[in-house]
């Protein structure tokens, strides 16, 4: 009974805690003195951990603690994968990057918690079944750090006879194997030939330096591991191959390992930072350029005679009962243009694929039968339409400010009917409409506003047709 009481209390306690965690920093000033104290203490712990885990010089720490830190911090947060999690010190278990458990022990790299940690995946392959040595007390040393193993082996790295739950035993065994039988020269050449693998190596190496600086006494293998890594790193990076590594570094470098990377790889950390800043400038320039081109493309589409003809057809049809669309209503052959008969997809398709009419985007023969509104993106793309909502340059676009002639596709929010749209689960049948004038949204009826219906419909696509000359004028936006 006591246990049950305890469980219920924990349940309510956790709920309270979750509510507290949701508090924003803006509300910090509204906290009570006691809560502010708790918050401050937690913050101090994080700061202490971060300071212990870096080899920044005092001058750099000082610099980062002044106002300029915010700019550089924002930059890293928005450009690299760096976040507060990266302030964590990762341990090293047989060459594999791993994490500490609650008792401060380094977790085995084959444990599911480590394998499923997405932050660690940037340091190369994870220790999955592929790396199994096929027996108990056999541990696979990370091939990125210790090479591919003996020549007559499987090429996946040394298999060390060691307690695979003990980081000290396993890592020491790996170091001994590498020093005793490892083909260091081949290992170095392999890394030099594969910049991605080399970037992984440098990432692990920089984390080893951070980890060993903090935990040197607890993990005696740190001494030898650090020496090996410093020796190897010195032979890996030269001024000639440094630039080829840059595209692979953004995932690896963080504000916390910058100095380590600088020291082991001839200023590669700082160079990557500059590279990222350059890349970001290029990205902004490309987005601006594409925005200009897209605006021209939109203007051209809006005045295209086919757009005008489509809108006119839709305007006329909205007063008619197409085929049996008015069945079950009071209307027979005609209806008020403001009245919907729940056949938006049919009316839009009739306007885009008219029978025997010129000035149209599609032909009657290509009419997409049996498709509901929410699925329209597929046939629109087949017709050569582009979803502007999917373009980063058009992130401010909404149905309200969409251009004349834009085709807006919505999903249903409260529904039991689901569709697979571009691999995503979408509610249907949804809605589709074409924007005419600024207060004219047309489908099987004419609405004076986008048909959001208090949130019952949610826009998932805004399509226009972009002429090839505009497509060609657009530039590739570099990814960060």
């Amino acid at each position: 009974m006591k246990k049950l009481t305890l469980l219920i209390s924990i349940f309510f306690g956790v709920q309270t805690l979750a509510l507290e965690q949701g508090i924003s920093f803006e509300l910090y000033h509204q906290l009570s003195f006691e809560r502010k104290k708790d918050f401050h203490q937690a913050l101090m712990k994080v700061m202490e951990r971060r300071t212990l885990g870096t080899r920044f010089r005092d001058s750099i720490i000082e610099e980062r603690l002044t106002s300029s830190v915010m700019k550089s911090w924002d930059f890293w947060i928005s450009t690299a994968h760096a976040d507060v999690e990266n302030a964590e010190i990762f341990c090293n278990f047989g060459g594999w990057i791993s994490e500490f458990d609650d008792e401060g022990e380094c977790l085995a790299p084959w444990s599911s918690k480590v394998r499923e940690n997405s932050v660690l995946s940037v340091y190369g392959p994870v220790y999955n079944g592929e790396f199994s040595c096929g027996g108990a007390k056999l541990f696979r040393c990370n091939p990125i750090i210790f090479g591919q193993g003996p020549r007559d082996g499987d090429g996946k790295g040394f298999c060390a006879t060691a307690d695979d739950r003990d980081p000290r035993d396993s890592t020491t065994a790996c170091i001994e194997l590498y020093e005793g039988g490892g083909d260091v020269e081949t290992h170095i050449n392999e890394l030099k030939e594969d910049p991605e693998k080399l970037a992984n190596y440098l990432g692990i190496a920089s984390e080893v330096l951070r980890f060993c600086q903090k935990s040197f006494d607890d993990f005696p293998y740190c001494d030898q591991l650090t020496t090996n890594i410093l020796n190897t790193s010195g032979q890996l990076v030269s001024c000639e191959n440094r630039d080829s590594l840059l595209p692979f570094m953004p995932d690896i470098v963080t504000p916390f390992n910058l100095d380590e990377l600088d020291s082991i790889a001839k200023g590669l950390g700082s160079k990557t930072k500059l590279y990222l800043e350059e890349l970001r400038k290029k990205q902004i320039a490309a987005v601006e350029k594409n925005k200009e081109v897209l605006n021209e493309a939109i203007e051209s589409y809006s005045v295209d005679p086919r757009t005008s003809a489509t809108l006119e057809r839709l305007r006329n049809n909205s007063k008619k009962c197409l085929i049996d669309s008015c069945k079950g209503t009071r209307h027979k052959n005609s209806k008020p243009s403001s009245k919907s008969v729940a056949f938006c997809a049919r009316y839009v398709k009739f306007a885009l694929f008219p029978y025997g009419e010129e000035n149209a985007f599609g032909e009657w023969a290509d009419y997409p039968w049996s498709t509901d509104a929410v699925e329209s993106g597929a046939w629109l793309k087949e017709m050569g339409f582009t979803n502007l909502m999917a373009r980063p340059e058009m992130s401010q676009l909404t149905p309200e400010n969409a251009p004349k002639g834009a085709i807006i596709v919505y999903e249903d929010v409260s529904t039991r009917r689901y569709y697979n749209v571009d691999g995503q689960k979408r509610g249907g049948p949804g809605h589709i409409e074409i924007k005419g004038e600024s207060d004219e949204y047309m489908s099987d009826f004419i609405n004076d506003e986008p048909t959001r219906i208090g949130g019952l419909r949610k826009p998932i696509g805004i399509y226009i047709k972009i002429k090839p000359k505009f497509e060609e004028a657009m530039v590739e936006v570099p990814e960060l």
């Binding site: 009974m1 009481t5 919907s340 249907g428 049948p429 589709i432 004076d448 208090g454």
Partner: protein
């Protein structure tokens, strides 16, 4: 045992209190509406949706009466099926109670439109299109 009983009683009353508060706010907001100015007033649409959702969780005479009154005003301005869709979940969940309220609040011509809308919603849900 006593502690468990106390905790459970506390949590149940907390839930009831919270839901009661929501119901009160919704009723108050609906009561403030006497006229519908626009064909598409997303705030009013949202209020109707939330009221229907709250009624699904806990039926309330006050809230349901107010919701149907505002629904009648909105339907007059915009007789489309999707207006009925806003309160459709509670129409389905509380058929008898909602029928009585709708028949009382809607004029016969509006009631016809309402019934036609229900047919459209059912056809749309079953056969699709949009």
């Amino acid at each position: 045992m006593k502690t468990i009983f106390l905790i459970l009683t506390f949590s149940i009353s907390l839930f009831t209190f919270c839901n009661g508060e929501v119901e009160e706010i919704l009723t108050k907001d609906l009561k403030a509406i006497s006229k519908i100015e626009k064909r598409n007033d997303n705030k009013v649409f949202k209020l109707l949706r939330e009221s229907a959702s709250s009624l699904e969780k806990k039926w309330s005479e006050d809230l349901s009466t107010e919701m149907v009154r505002v629904y009648a005003l909105v339907l007059k301005k915009n007789p489309n099926f999707f207006i009925t869709e806003l309160i459709y979940p509670i129409i389905e969940a509380k058929k008898k109670e909602m029928k009585a309220l709708l028949e009382k609040e809607l004029k016969s011509s509006d009631l016809e439109i309402h019934k036609e809308n229900i047919k459209l919603i059912k056809r749309r849900t079953k056969k699709g299109n949009g």
